[in-house]
């Protein structure tokens, strides 16, 4: 016993001294980390503490936020029950999932097709021009994109003119005023904005394919189309799988901008998703606790989805995102 204590005390003394020495040694590194630490504490972790709002009945008044928060009446899961049982839950979840899944369905294949198509082009100038222009929508804000979409879909916009010219319809369709079109508008809008840019990753993957494989396929009598089916696509499969997993992780994050900017009173029943709903109740109707509860529900479920997706991808592919 006696002999055992001695080394333990020495061991515990040494790390303490090392920690102090290391702190001094690494003072510049820690100093450089400081802005980021303060940032994370203030703008990431304090809001997480503020999530306590979802469990109380927070009444906005002029007092100090924290003081008021911790003196508010504790209501437990009341706001969550309220959300699940007032009928909005079904509509909001339907819209969120419909919007993201439809977007996934439309926007996922597009960059793959673009990358393959671009890869088959031999004219460098044409290839570069198409590439450059197709990346552009990614860099504009959703505000500008929404302006463009509203213009294109307006009653005398190009889409209506085209539909009339093709005799598909003889009257202008008011796309943005009817809920039934809304999910499609968001899905196609998202695709329009991101398809070119997302193709970069696939182009990179294609450029790593050994050219001899194409030669071999050609010798075997494969035409251009068959070369794509039997050489290009199999080599893209790992990239496709990773990106699909990544996008499944975001299935609850429908995106605030597009739903907020393109939606309006007439389409609200279809355009309201978790983020816009929380925005409306929190900042416009001042139901702070209720909106926090909706936001917390969103964050927790989104986080769980990411963890599950990551776990499954580790199991299935031996590839994990974090």
């Amino acid at each position: 016993m006696e002999t055992a204590v001695q080394p333990i005390r020495q061991k515990s003394a040494t790390p303490a001294r090392t920690i102090k020495r290391r702190l001094i040694e690494q003072r510049y590194l820690l100093l450089m980390l400081l802005p980021a630490l303060i940032w994370a504490a203030l703008f990431a972790y304090l809001p997480m503490v503020g999530l306590y709002m979802a469990f109380v009945n927070y009444q906005p008044s002029l007092g100090d936020f924290w003081n008021q928060l911790f003196h508010s009446e504790f209501v437990g899961m009341y706001w969550f029950d309220y959300f699940f049982n007032n009928g909005d839950f079904y509509i909001i979840m339907r819209n969120t999932l419909a919007s993201t899944l439809l977007t996934l369905l439309v926007s996922f294949p597009a960059p793959i097709i673009i990358a393959i198509a671009l890869n088959e082009v031999k004219n460098a100038f044409f290839k570069r021009t198409v590439q450059t222009v197709s990346y552009l929508p990614h860099f504009i804000s959703w505000v500008i994109a929404a302006n463009i979409i509203v213009t294109v879909l307006s009653s005398d916009g190009i889409v209506n003119k085209l539909l009339q010219w093709l005799h598909i319809t003889d009257q202008s369709i008011l796309f943005l005023q009817e809920g039934k079109y809304f999910w499609w508008i968001v899905a196609i809008g998202n695709t329009w904005k991101e398809m070119g840019y997302s193709s970069i990753i696939y182009l990179a993957a294609i450029s790593s394919i050994n050219l001899e494989l194409y030669e071999a396929a050609k010798v075997d009598g494969a035409g251009r189309f068959k070369q794509i089916i039997y050489v290009t696509l199999p080599h893209l499969k790992p990239t496709i799988v990773i990106l699909l997993i990544l996008s499944l992780g975001g299935v609850l994050n429908a995106g605030f901008d597009q739903h907020f900017l393109l939606g309006n009173g007439m389409t609200q029943e279809y355009s309201d998703v978790l983020s816009t709903y929380s925005f409306r109740y929190g900042l416009q109707n001042s139901m702070f606790s209720y909106a926090s509860a909706v936001g917390l529900f969103n964050s927790v479920v989104a986080f769980l989805i990411i963890v599950i997706v990551n776990f499954s991808s580790k199991k299935l592919n031996n590839q994990s995102l974090f």
């Binding site: 630490l37 809001p47 213009t151 943005l176 840019y197 009598g221 909106a291």
Partner: protein, 297 residues
Amino acid sequence: MLGKSNVSDKLFDLMNYTLLCLIFVVTFYPFWNILVVSLNDATDAVRGGLYLWPRDFTLASYKSIFRNQELLGSINVTVLRTVIGTPLSVLAICMMAYSLSKRELIAWRFFTLFFIFTMYFGGGLIPTYMIIKSLGLIDSFWVYIFPGLIGVFLMILVRTFIEQLPPELEESAKIDGANELEIFIRLILPLCVPVLATIALFIGIGHWNSWYDSYIYTYKPELKTLQAVLVKILNQFQTGAMVSEADQLANSSKRTPVSGESIRMAVTMVATLPIILVYPFIQRFFVKGMMMGAIKS
């Protein structure tokens, strides 16, 4: 056999070029159309049917934008936040990446997880709003700079880059007696220029494009960013208000009455143009940046 495959190859090429031309038109035309409408006489534009060229060319819409104090002010705020916010963010992210690239840093694992966790979980809109409010950032210019100061994903990009630098460089600097601060300023910062340019670009475009923080955290009209003003114009256009914001803007410049549509297009163009103009010069950078991100994940 050879002839048949030649024909099908030709057919393939035809389909392929058609598809790509379609993509070109779909991504390019909307921008062109906005330019056309914004350059057309406003009263004439109401007639519609403007597709490829302005019918009645005029710069009146642009002139009225640059005579409007609210819009001019918002352009000012947007430029200012981009110019101030971008270098601050880049510096903070780079310092953070350098520290976290050192595995021997005390509590390295804790710090890394501390930041990574913020990528996947957050307080959400309302608690964040309350914190911003209790920090006194409402109606302050700094609300544009501080809450978005760090991008953890961008930090990972920079850290990966730093980790790929040859360790001998740093070791020799250390032997010369340089401390980490000196190494960072004299060695790491210059070496990181390519990756820093990449993230500066992303951050700069983010600043230029952002409207949400301006929309919810500022009430003073003189603090509104260009995109936030554009949101207002879009909202009013969408709800079809009798006297729209755009019309008001138009009529505030008395000399040339301009209707809402052309003004909306001109403001959209002013918000888009800087991106289109810097875009050709920066394309190389972001493709490279995207590749780096791809390798990491």
